[in-house]
Chain length 422, copies 3
């Protein structure tokens, strides 16, 4: 059930006082403190941890999620996620992984042998009858494989259905998913969330290869008019569905040019984005119309959906998975409805590559990566969370911060995160 | 007006008690505490920030001075220095600099557009009418270009004339200046000041390429005799001229050989510097006479002048500009009087390269760089300021420390320096 | 005199309560606190610092021992070890070492000249009559050369005979020593001690090149049976001989195979080490018999002796010399009795290389290095000393920890270690 309009109005009023203020924000006053605290991510959520194709039968893969080191294993047709640290003396299993049975992992150092499913110590090969067997153990993580992605639950509660923690529609049966190779970005995961949803960030895409020299309508920013913003944003709080919100492009104001005002003897100067130069208003309108079906939504814990991108029939999904304080793993998927198994296969193998990955991944989100890394110094080292000066369009960002602070199931603790336990 | 002799005597008496003491110096006792505090430099001074030729029309250049990141811009024939950090969300303009008018800079992320001269927010291209315009701003810095160098004032007061902050004579109309390419040295800037002025450091230049195999008179150290030191050092406190002091070589004792005393069965051993080996006293005296006009002076904030180096008609200038705690930018210039515009051009283009840069920069100060970097571990990481054991010739260094501590207009704070504000 | 049996029983009872406990160890309860504190090594011991062949006449070599930087010098046929830091302004002598006499070192910066034997300032070449002479000084270290190794004493007491600080027999006149090139390992030195003596670590050597495809008997671990452990371990506390203890292989239980127990529908699985696969019990027994004379001993401060390795006539010695918190220098030597000078020479030049260095250094201890580096993250950054969960065979490790904590002459302090003084 979406949030009622009155609630939305109140919600917006609570945050608008934090934008358009030239002075420094006091540290205590922020109603999104949990967002500031969540440097290592939100706890008690499902996260994509690897692609299915990165884990072949009998293989394993070490990953770091929210500061926790774990080992993904595919063995005997099953998937496991286990703390990558022997309970005995802390060495990483992944340095020399040994699987003497399909259901166990043996430490390369002192033969401690653990169940892959519950992490309990089954036995120690060189100490038969070791009294620690069945008592000692390592942490294990719920794991699920869907749509070519391997999801892991990082938390302490009974995991809710995966559907609650993925953007709407992603798990739909008729949706074919093409996955790009994930990679690390040197920026905190929250900066990626904010950049992805930011209505004012559109300007950076004037330098995206996909846009340069084409008719793809890139603007100064696709800012919602304040009086229409409330209608444009839709909060999703449905139980048990995913929690997030979405902005539809019908209400956007597409700004292709703007004027730097005169000052003294300096004349006013009109600035037009490169792609709009030399175009008539009618041509610009046609460009916009072609892209009008787009909507952008951000869902807990860290998933973005852009419907109608790069073309109306395609939906772009991405996740910013926290690795540590300074790094996130960037997953990107392109989705299209597939009516048959053959259509699905074609999308996963060839068509998704040509129609989505080349324009969107190789040609567009490169600039988002650039922008996130550009934010990292200020927010990671210069107390940006309290020194920033937000402007009007940032209302949508602080709405998200407040929403996430209220709704998040938990905040990953900074101390002890590397211990594999909260 | 130079300091009176009685004042100089008192000044020297106050510091001599800190040399020739084998015990550890107590932390509280030092009369040059501001020097110890000035890890990031002295605030409220002009500093060379770049060479003129490094900033072409329409270009820009990020530099870090005293821990502050700023962007130098040359546009429309004017120079600007502006904080390299957008007031909105802290990204660096220099990552993708945009100049839509000759008087403004636009942030590549959200189109915040600032005046280059006063740093005020002129407008936001994608939010016409943004109420932050005219209120929000970034820091700007006074900037001046002279003699092929671009100077920037880092501070909070009305900047005094540039003449006050450069060694005497540097701005003289008839002085032609040849600038070497500046480079970073991995040592704190104060260690460079002390090395440059240090009368005992001459010994390192026995390994300078310019000296090896030539008759250039390099010594064990050109130590002033204590009884003559007071006369040799001249303090300059003239208002509004530069503040510093200078040592003239007439009073130096040039030490070409020395003896390691005997001990038990070990005989005394005479040590002669390489360049003096096999030379008669008359030959040595001739070498010294050829170099006798040299004088060395150090001026606030961090400029050194060596008159008569490497030849009597040339003056060597250098600056040790603080970048951060561990690094300074090393500027070197060679100067000669030029009677005509043609003579000036010849010096700047060809003659200065051959007569000054090759011997002095490529062949001599290489060893100074080596020495400064050699000091960095002790002073940067091992509390050298309180563990050092100074000897007689260091009186001239501690005179400088005390002088600088008393005269400096301000100390750059360690916290907040990166904020672009004091 | 070895420790009496009753004492050994008591000693073991005191530590066994710390193994086989699934819960976390309380921080205060550990009877080996000095071991935990000795991150930078045990003070007041002799350590190998270099090989003889690494120091040629007239040469020098900077080394870091227990966090202290020092310079080894061989001059006039004598060896010296001197703090590598001028007392004046802290530069390292080793950046440009100057030896104007065979008994002194002169700093390259300001000509401070020190006696190599006692570190006292003999003179300053450019300040004749400097009053600091004879008063100021740098630290010097006792140094001794034996068997191709250069040993340095790091401490404040009168050094005991070198014999007290080397494993038994190493200095025997008839023992020929072949030294491998030492190298740095990225692990704290204590982890190396524990790995070397650890009865459960044998499993890692199933991947040692020397073992793969040969009949060398490698096991799951050569665990002493608890009821026989007391007899197997012999403590050496003889005055003035070396302090340590040794385990003889006659009492070992060689475990070639083991079983992972069944669980639910999962059957039990027998695991056999690679080298034992396809062999009859008789063949395995023959393999063991061939290796039965082995004994392993660990001596303060950090020396290991393996008698009968890799063949019965050879003794393997190694040291884990602390460099800093995260690094030790790994020395390895192969020893054999030599009846004549010719036999000694052959062993040092050719035979030791073929019979010991190729199998033991290139083919076996590579896996020990791998294991030590695998421990470093947990013990260096994750509080492993309090989070580890020890099992039965670790009794021998904690016996050592407690023994070393009781017997060590001193613990290197963490603060001030870099100062060259305790």
């Amino acid at each position: 059930m979406a949030v009622a309009k009155s609630s939305r109005r109140k919600r917006e009023e609570e945050v608008t006082k934090f934008v358009d203020r030239p002075g420094r924000t006091r540290k205590r006053a922020l109603p999104w403190q949990r967002w500031i605290d969540a440097e290592l991510g939100f706890r008690n959520y499902w996260y994509p941890a690897a692609l299915s194709r990165q884990l072949t039968e009998g293989g394993c893969r070490p990953v770091t999620l929210l500061g926790e080191e774990l080992l993904l294993v595919r063995n005997g047709g099953r998937l496991y996620a286990i703390e990558d640290r022997c309970a005995h003396r802390g060495v990483r299993f992944s340095k020399r992984p040994l699987f003497y049975t399909p259901h166990t992992i043996t430490c390369w150092y002192h033969t401690f042998t653990y169940n892959l499913d519950d992490g309990k110590l089954r036995c120690v090969l060189n100490e038969p009858g070791c009294p620690l067997a069945g008592k000692l153990g390592v942490r294990t993580y719920p794991i699920e494989e869907r749509k070519g992605l391997v999801f892991v639950f990082v938390g302490d509660i009974d995991p809710p259905p995966l559907k609650c923690d993925t953007p709407p529609g992603f798990l739909d049966d008729d949706l074919a998913i093409h996955c790009a190779e994930p990679f690390e970005v040197k920026a905190n995961w929250r900066l990626a969330c904010e950049n992805g949803f930011d209505p004012g960030h559109h300007f950076i895409h004037n330098w995206s290869p996909m846009v340069v020299g084409t008719d793809y309508p890139i603007t100064m920013g696709y800012v919602s008019k304040p009086e229409r913003r409330r209608e444009a944003m839709e909060f999703s709080l449905d139980e048990p569905g995913p929690k997030g919100f979405e902005r539809k492009s019908e209400s956007w104001e597409m700004i292709f040019d703007s004027t730097i005002p005169a000052r003294g003897a300096e004349p006013a100067v009109k600035v037009t984005v490169p792609g709009a130069q030399g175009k008539t208003p009618e041509q610009l309108q046609a460009m916009v119309s072609a892209a009008v079906a787009t909507s952008v939504g951000l869902w807990l814990p860290c998933g973005l959906r852009v419907a109608g991108f790069p073309t109306p029939d395609i939906t772009h999904y991405e996740w910013y998975v926290p690795k540590d304080e300074n790094t996130h793993l960037y997953f990107q998927c392109g989705a299209r409805r597939a009516e048959s198994e053959e259509a699905r296969e074609r999308w996963i193998s060839q068509e998704g590559h040509a129609a989505w990955e080349i324009p969107a991944v190789q040609g567009f989100t490169t600039e988002d990566r650039f922008a996130r890394e550009g934010l990292q110094t200020f927010y990671g080292h210069e107390d940006g969370w309290h020194r920033e000066h937000l402007y009007g369009p940032d209302v949508e960002i602080v709405l998200w911060r407040k929403f996430a602070s209220e709704q998040a199931r938990g905040v990953q603790p900074r101390n002890g995160a590397r211990s594999g336990a909260p």
